[in-house]
């Protein structure tokens, strides 16, 4: 078993990992930048090491500093959490070379899934449905037209070097494609230094449905059901739920089996997530795999009763999974609201010091938080404050409990997106489960100002 785990992260996920380690009776080492001296994760760890100044490159993204901290302070394993170095193959490799157990998948799993075109080709070969389109970028508009003719309009043009929802354009006819291709190419070259464009089938009002995978080092791979993450703002998830309000048991089994097949195809180990888009006809397409624990893992824990973070730690330690797929049962409904420090009107980040803090509690309410009274939300990092999860026997009960919880949540000193969540939780379309990845746009009628876009970018680390 592991002897001491260094947690190469901060905020709520660092606290979450500490809880899992404590339950397994493994001591923890927190790392922190000088901006996080008073942070909750630093207070709650068994040991703590300052790894650098506030700038992430010199602290939370500083591979030598983190590996050295693990070695010097006697850790034998490193948990990367999400964001930061969690999907960095070099970091996983540096850990392994230094004799540290990296709590995550194999280095090659990380590298493969980080290379989106290659991941797409591997999945296609394994029989996993992917969105029809090119699997390599092109700068030739005729090639784009040929592909479009084959898969049918509308199509999506994607800057090969883009990401996080940037560099996307829709074309609904050959004429439109001809008109925008050159622009997209130039923009891509200007913004990302690469003008290559992918052509992909464009789905109208798709849903984002993802499956939680757990795999050990003994070829056991299983899924823990789906999460519906269609409530997004510029490709950033805001509110997630499990189960999806529309998936039938049969669809769940079918998509779950494909997700397991996808993970098996690459010899995946540890926890991970297969993300699909689901169209209105019930077709689903692989988009990507996240090779780490997800922000929204908690809702799956609520409906399955399985501690996903513990499962990842045990899998990394070489333990076989204690379950088969048939042991995984689902009960009730869970919703997660991501509480972020932002001005609900302008959607700009709202860093500051938390005062007058009261987190909600009571029946069916779970709070995973990285803060307490007097905690600072620094300007340097993403603005996630906490995650509130409401569990109920039904979706209605979960929504009702979430409303009560958010209406009593008190955070002064910073602004949060709680008002937006309360607005969603009272919206007729959300209540009927009629959501898709563009659902949230209607709440966001204001023109997108430049600073708001950079706020969204800051959230990327937390996806």
């Amino acid at each position: 078993m592991l002897k001491k785990v260094l947690i190469a992260n901060r905020g709520e996920i660092a606290v979450r990992i500490m809880r899992a380690c404590r339950a397994l009776q493994i001591p923890t080492v927190a790392v922190y930048s000088t901006a996080d001296r008073e942070a909750l994760h630093v207070r709650l760890a068994d040991e703590r090491v300052c790894i650098g100044p506030p700038n992430v490159r010199e602290s939370y993204l500083n591979i030598p500093s983190i590996v050295s901290a693990a070695l010097s302070f006697g850790a034998d394993a490193v948990h990367p959490g999400y964001g930061f170095l969690s999907e960095n193959g070099d970091f996983a490799e540096a850990c392994q070379r230094s004799g540290l157990t990296f709590i995550g998948p194999r280095v090659r799993n990380i590298r493969l899934m980080g290379d989106k075109p290659r991941a797409r080709r591997v999945m296609e070969k394994a029989g996993v449905p992917v969105l029809p389109g090119t699997s390599a970028g092109t700068t030739d508009v005729r090639e784009a037209q040929a592909v479009a003719a084959q898969i049918g309009f509308p199509i999506l043009l994607k800057a090969a070097a883009g990401g996080g929802g940037r560099g996307l354009r829709v074309a609904r006819s050959p004429e439109e494609l001809a008109a925008v291709f050159g622009v997209a190419e130039e923009e891509g070259a200007a913004a990302f230094g690469n003008g290559a464009i992918y052509v992909e089938k464009y789905l109208e009002h798709p849903r984002h449905i993802e499956f939680q995978i757990v795999a050990d080092q003994h070829r056991n791979v299983l899924h823990l059901g789906e999460r519906e993450c269609s409530v997004q703002r510029r490709y950033q998830k805001i509110l997630e739920e499990s189960p999806s309000p529309i998936l039938t048991k049969r669809q769940r089994e079918k998509m779950g089996a494909v997700a397991v097949k996808a993970a098996e195809a690459i010899g995946y180990t540890n926890v991970g997530t297969i993300e699909f888009l689901l169209d209105q006809q019930g077709h689903f397409y692989f988009i990507e795999m996240n090779t780490r624990v997800q922000v929204e893992h908690a809702i799956t824990e609520m409906v399955t009763g399985i501690d996903i973070v513990q499962a990842g730690i045990l899998a990394a330690a070489g333990e076989p999974l204690p379950w088969r797929q048939r042991d995984i049962t689902f009960s009730g409904h869970a919703i997660e609201c991501r509480i972020v420090a932002e001005d609900p009107r302008t959607m700009l980040p709202s860093p500051g010091t938390i005062r007058g803090y009261h987190a909600p509690g009571g029946l069916g309410i779970r709070v995973d938080s990285g803060v307490a009274e007097n905690s600072v939300i620094p300007v340097y990092y993403d603005s996630l404050v906490s995650k509130v999860v409401a569990y109920g026997k039904t979706r209605e009960e979960a929504i009702q409990r979430m409303r009560v919880a958010l209406s009593e949540y008190q955070i002064a000193g910073i602004k949060t997106n709680i008002p937006l969540h309360l607005q969603i939780l009272q919206d007729a379309e959300f209540l009927t489960g009629n959501i898709h990845t563009r659902y949230l746009d209607k709440f966001l009628t204001r023109p997108i100002a430049r600073p708001a876009a950079s706020a969204a970018e800051r959230l990327v680390v937390n996806a």
């Binding site: 001591p27 068994d46 090491v49 010097s72 230094s98």
Partner: protein, 160 residues
């Protein structure tokens, strides 16, 4: 107003939760401002923090062990000192090789650019150079111990 009065005022401020105080009279003016909230859940103070182990099942608020280094503020001789902080996380060595003599000792005079110790990080032996000229007043860490970013390694009395 005497020092004792001011001390009393400070104590009263702390006790009563007062964070600012100004008194002006014909003969004197006093202004006191307290940092707020630091008393609660005291963070590791800058520079003298060390990783500390808390028994897994004891609530952390039951008492963080005090910092291992002695507080220079308590020793007037040390109060003049300037610290050389560790520029990285790693293991602190006072000697270039296990059998060699230490780079510096208490009383040594160090020039700018002199190597004062090694911090091993990821199997790399990093020579740490002094950025000040001075006399070593105190060695803040034991040989072979893990050090954090920013942790004071030596205390120097600056020399012109």
């Amino acid at each position: 107003m005497e020092i004792d009065d001011i001390k009393k005022l400070m104590e009263l401020m702390e006790e009563k939760g007062v964070i600012e105080l100004e008194i002006k009279s014909a003969s004197s003016e006093v202004r006191l401002v307290r940092a707020h909230h630091q008393a609660v859940a005291a963070p590791p103070p800058v520079g003298i923090t060390v990783a500390s182990t808390i028994p897994a099942l004891l609530p952390p608020h039951e008492g963080n062990p005090p910092p291992q280094s002695s507080d220079p503020a308590l020793d007037p001789a040390l109060a003049r000192g300037v610290a050389i902080p560790s520029p990285m996380v790693g293991t602190f060595y006072r000697t270039p090789t296990p059998d060699a003599k230490p780079y510096v000792d208490v009383g040594s005079v160090v020039e700018i650019g002199d190597v004062v110790c090694i911090v091993e990080a990821m199997k790399m032996m990093n020579e740490i150079q002094s950025e000040v000229r001075g006399r070593v007043l105190k060695i803040m860490m034991d040989n072979g111990k893990a050090v954090e970013y920013g942790q004071p390694l030596f205390l120097l009395e600056p020399l012109e």
